[in-house]
C-alpha cells in the first residue's frame, strides 16, 4: 500500500471510530439538546470517514464500505485514542475536545499540502469542523476548572498526541496548553477495538456482499 493510501486510511479510520464511539451516547447524553448535537457531530465524523474512504478506494481499487467494514481489526490504522471505550461524560467530552484540537492541526497541514485532492477534501471537512470546535471549546471552557475534566484531559493527553504526526505535536501541545509527553502511538490497538469492530461489522458480516 502506498503512503497516500495509508495516510488516508489512518485519517478515515480515526473519523469512523471516533464517530462510532461518540454515537454510543445517543439517547443517554446529559441533556436532550446535547444528545441531539453530540449525535449529529458523531454522524458528521462518519460522513468525513466516508469521503476519505472514497478517496482511498480509488487509490486501492475498492469501495468505501469495503474499507470501512471488510478489513480485520488489525488492519485498521486508527490511533488508540479513538478506540477507548469511555464510560463517563468528563472523559468523553475531554476526548471530543482533544480530538478536535488534534484534527485541526492535521487539517491545517493537509490543507497546506501538495496533494490537491486531499487538500480540497480537508478544506471541505474543516468547514464542518468549525462548528464541532465551537461545541467542543464551549464544553472545555465551561469545565476547565472542574477536577474531573482536568483529570480526564491529563489522562487522555498521551493518547491524543498520538493522533498527529511527530512534527505536528509541538503545535498541538501549544494549542491545548499542555507539555509534550510520550505518545500512545498509532500502529497497535487497544483490546477495545476488537469489541467495537465486532459490533460495527456485525450486519455487514451477516450478509456479505448485500447492498442496502
Amino acid at each position: 500500500m502506498n503512503a497516500r493510501a495509508e495516510q488516508l486510511l489512518a485519517f478515515a479510520d480515526d473519523e469512523l471510530i471516533v464517530g462510532w464511539r461518540d454515537s454510543e451516547w445517543t439517547g443517554i447524553a446529559p441533556t436532550l439538546e446535547e444528545d441531539v448535537a453530540f449525535s449529529s457531530i458523531a454522524q458528521n465524523e462518519i460522513g468525513h470517514a466516508r469521503a476519505l474512504y472514497e478517496l482511498a478506494a480509488t487509490e486501492l481499487g475498492t469501495d468505501a464500505d469495503a474499507l470501512a467494514f471488510d478489513r480485520q481489526p488489525d488492519d485498521y490504522r486508527c490511533a488508540p485514542f479513538v478506540e477507548l471505550h469511555l464510560m463517563d461524560w468528563a472523559h468523553t467530552i475531554a476526548r471530543r475536545y482533544l480530538y478536535e484540537e488534534a484534527d485541526r492541526v492535521r487539517l491545517e497541514a493537509l490543507k497546506a499540502g501538495d496533494d490537491a485532492g486531499l487538500a480540497g477534501l480537508a478544506a471541505k471537512i474543516d468547514r464542518e469542523e468549525t462548528y464541532h470546535r465551537l461545541h467542543a471549546e464551549l464544553w472545555a471552557g465551561r469545565l476547565r476548572d472542574e477536577p474531573r475534566f482536568q483529570e480526564a484531559v491529563e489522562e487522555l493527553w498521551p493518547y491524543a498526541i498520538g493522533v498527529v504526526e511527530e512534527e505536528q505535536r509541538p503545535e498541538l501541545a501549544r494549542r491545548v496548553g499542555l507539555e509534550l509527553v510520550e505518545a500512545n502511538e498509532r500502529g497497535s490497538h487497544t483490546p477495545a477495538l476488537a469489541e467495537l469492530w465486532d459490533e460495527m461489522t456485525e450486519v455487514r458480516r451477516s450478509a456479505p456482499g448485500a447492498t442496502w
Binding site: 439538546e33 441531539v36 449529529s40 457531530i41 465551537l134 461545541h135
Partner: protein, 95 residues
C-alpha cells in the same frame, strides 16, 4: 435558560417559531440549536430569543361585541370578483 427558536426556511421568508432549546447561555444555545434545527439544511437562518425577552400579550378587552370589526361571513372573494368586473378584467394582472 430557555431560548425560543425561530427558523427561516428560505431567504426572504418570515421566521416562524420552530421550538426551543434549554441552554446555560447563548453560546451553548447556538451550538445546540445549530444541530437541532439546521443539520439537515432545513434552515437558512435561526433566531434564538431568550424566553424572558418575549413580551407576551394575552389580555383582550372586547366588551361591546363589535362584530362589525370582524371579517367572519364577509366574502372577500365575491367583493374581488365584483371589483374586477368593474375594472373590466376577469383575472388579476391581465390588462
Amino acid at each position: 435558560m430557555v431560548f425560543e427558536v425561530f427558523r427561516q426556511e428560505k431567504k426572504g421568508q418570515p421566521f416562524t417559531h420552530a421550538g426551543s432549546v434549554v441552554a446555560p447561555d447563548a453560546a451553548f444555545a447556538d451550538a445546540w440549536a445549530r444541530e437541532q434545527y439546521g443539520r439537515r439544511g432545513e434552515s437558512e437562518a435561526l433566531w434564538l430569543v431568550p424566553r424572558d425577552a418575549v413580551h407576551q400579550v394575552t389580555e383582550w378587552a372586547d366588551e361591546f361585541d363589535l362584530k362589525y370589526r370582524r371579517v367572519d361571513g364577509y366574502s372577500i372573494k365575491e367583493r374581488l370578483r365584483i371589483a374586477r368586473e368593474r375594472a373590466g378584467r376577469a383575472t388579476p394582472g391581465v390588462r
